[in-house]
Amino acid sequence: MIKKQTLEILSHIQIAEDTFEVVLRSSLSKELKPGQFVHIALPGHMLRRPVSIANVNPEAETFTMIFKILGEGTRNLSKYKHGQYLDVILPCGTHYPIEELTISHALLVGGGIGVPPLYYLGKKLKEKGVNVTSVLGFQSATHVFYEEKFQQLGDTFIATNDGTYGQKGFVTEIIAELDMPIDYYFSCGPTPMLQAVTNQLSNQKGYISLEERMGCGVGTCYACVVPLKADPEQNKKICKDGPVFLANEVSLA
């Protein structure tokens, strides 16, 4: 059940350059699924900001999100402190349908602020007994976060654009070198990365998670559509039919 709640910030810490991890308490936490997002109102801003769910602690009724400062809204969000409250609509959108899939080995491919939702996904996959390999791309060393946490889920490879950490270059170069069978891949990140990854892995089954500027975030305004590959005259709403799509379902052109 989707709701608007006023949520207490239990922790708000910087974990990398311009990157913050926020823990919020919500009675809906246990309903949150990997791939879903929350839609956050900020004072002085007309529109809400969508941010993915990066982790959930169902017992504590809390969830985690991780965001990077991009513009005024996320800068505003970075100034909050624990003990303050946020106005949040949740849960929004579809999730990675891992309950329905038979997987023995999953590849997670994340870029920048596309990394956070994959952590919660990886955790859920590991709980199911799936082998998880993660390939994560960041701008540079100072932007890397959650490496150890991903390592606890399985093999983890890092690429940075400038080579200041891990392998220099793109996630696709690391994927090209991986030598293992995977059943499914799950990818989230900037559109150019998703294009490269879906092209590279076009023979694999996979799910991707998309971003688009949103109005309502709940499916009424048609702001956030993505054309279908099969018929580019048709489209789906990222906020309601997504953000998770089958890799070959939508057109990233």
């Binding site: 109102a41 007309m46 529109l47 109005g215 709940v218 009424t220 702001a223 559509v225 005259e233």
Partner: protein, 305 residues
């Protein structure tokens, strides 16, 4: 405290309705609250055939407002009648269908089809959608075209027709008079103002369509001015007022300017509960300012001379 309002075709339990394009066909927001609480619902625009809309990005945020260029995406009037409107039957709330088109013929076709539906109470004739390349806004900025399309739609419609005016005109009163002369039962005003925002990094307009419609509190002073002017010129025409409403105080301001009822657009995106919250606040706000009913406030902000 009476919140009721009676307008052609519309017996409203309160004057508050979501604006077209900002509430879809009601399904999503029905998860948040009981749509019975609403005065009415203005649903998303219907065109003759399905429309897939503009490329993305379709929205941008501005100071106290937003730009949108959705491009009239909708499944087409037939599917709206068969697949969307029936869901709304369960609510005791009148439905206003928003009619759009690129040609007079398309407007007439959509209106005739809706005329066969029993699920609506009135038509809002959207002659002012600025986000479609072929036609649309010309109807809203040329008084002869506005007159013609209003007249032709009235001919095929047994439902009352509220014509939705564009604010992108030199003289709003001329437009209002033109459509009222052509038989409009009421006016709906204002639609969005054409605006643009440029992405400095990409060196291009943010909205793929380049321009988009500006809505939200930024435009409220323009909406209030236009409603005031039209109310001065046409003392009896029913007006559904909109443009930047966020609070019950804003609603009272629209009533004082001359609106009989109001619609709420952009605010729904920020707060899905905004309509029921405003409806709950309205009696207290009206009495705070000395009004005993919604009707008593309408037009009371006018000073003469």
């Amino acid at each position: 405290m009476s919140l009721t309002v009676n307008l052609p075709g519309l017996s409203l339990k309160n004057p508050v309705m979501p604006a077209s394009g900002c509430f879809g066909f009601g399904k999503e927001y029905s998860q948040f609250f009981d749509l019975d609480e609403l005065g009415a619902i203005i649903v998303k625009a219907a065109t003759g055939a399905a429309r897939y809309g503009n490329p993305t990005p379709r929205v941008a945020e501005t100071s106290s407002g937003m730009l949108n260029a959705i491009g009239l995406q909708n499944p087409g009037v037939d599917k709206i009648i068969t697949d969307e409107l029936p869901f709304l039957r369960q609510f005791d709330t009148p439905i206003i269908a928003n009619v759009a088109g690129s040609t007079v013929e398309e407007y007439v076709k959509v209106a005739s089809k809706l005329n066969q539906s029993n699920d609506i109470a009135a038509i809002e004739l959207n002659i002012s959608c600025p986000n479609v390349k072929e036609g649309g806004v010309q109807f809203g900025t040329d008084s002869d075209l506005a007159k013609e399309v209003t007249y032709k739609v009235k001919e095929v419609s047994n439902y009352p027709v509220y014509v939705k005016l564009s604010p992108n005109v030199t003289n709003i009163t001329t437009m209002a008079k033109a459509v009222v002369d052509a038989g409009a039962d009421g006016l709906s005003m204002i639609n969005t103002l054409t605006g643009m925002q440029i992405n400095l990094k990409k060196r291009a307009p943010i909205i793929a369509n380049k321009t988009g419609g500006l809505s939200g509190p930024a435009i409220k002073p323009i909406a209030i001015r236009m409603i005031y002017e039209v109310r001065q010129a046409l003392s009896d025409v029913p007006i559904i007022g909109m443009g930047g409403i966020m609070t019950a105080e804003d609603v009272v301001e629209f009533l004082l300017a001359g609106a009989n009822a109001v619609a709420i657009g952009t605010a729904n995106f920020q707060n899905p509960y905004v309509c029921p919250e405003i409806i709950a606040d309205l009696p207290g706000t009206l009495s705070k300012y000395g009004f005993e009913s919604v009707k008593a406030a309408t037009g009371k902000g006018h000073v003469h001379g």
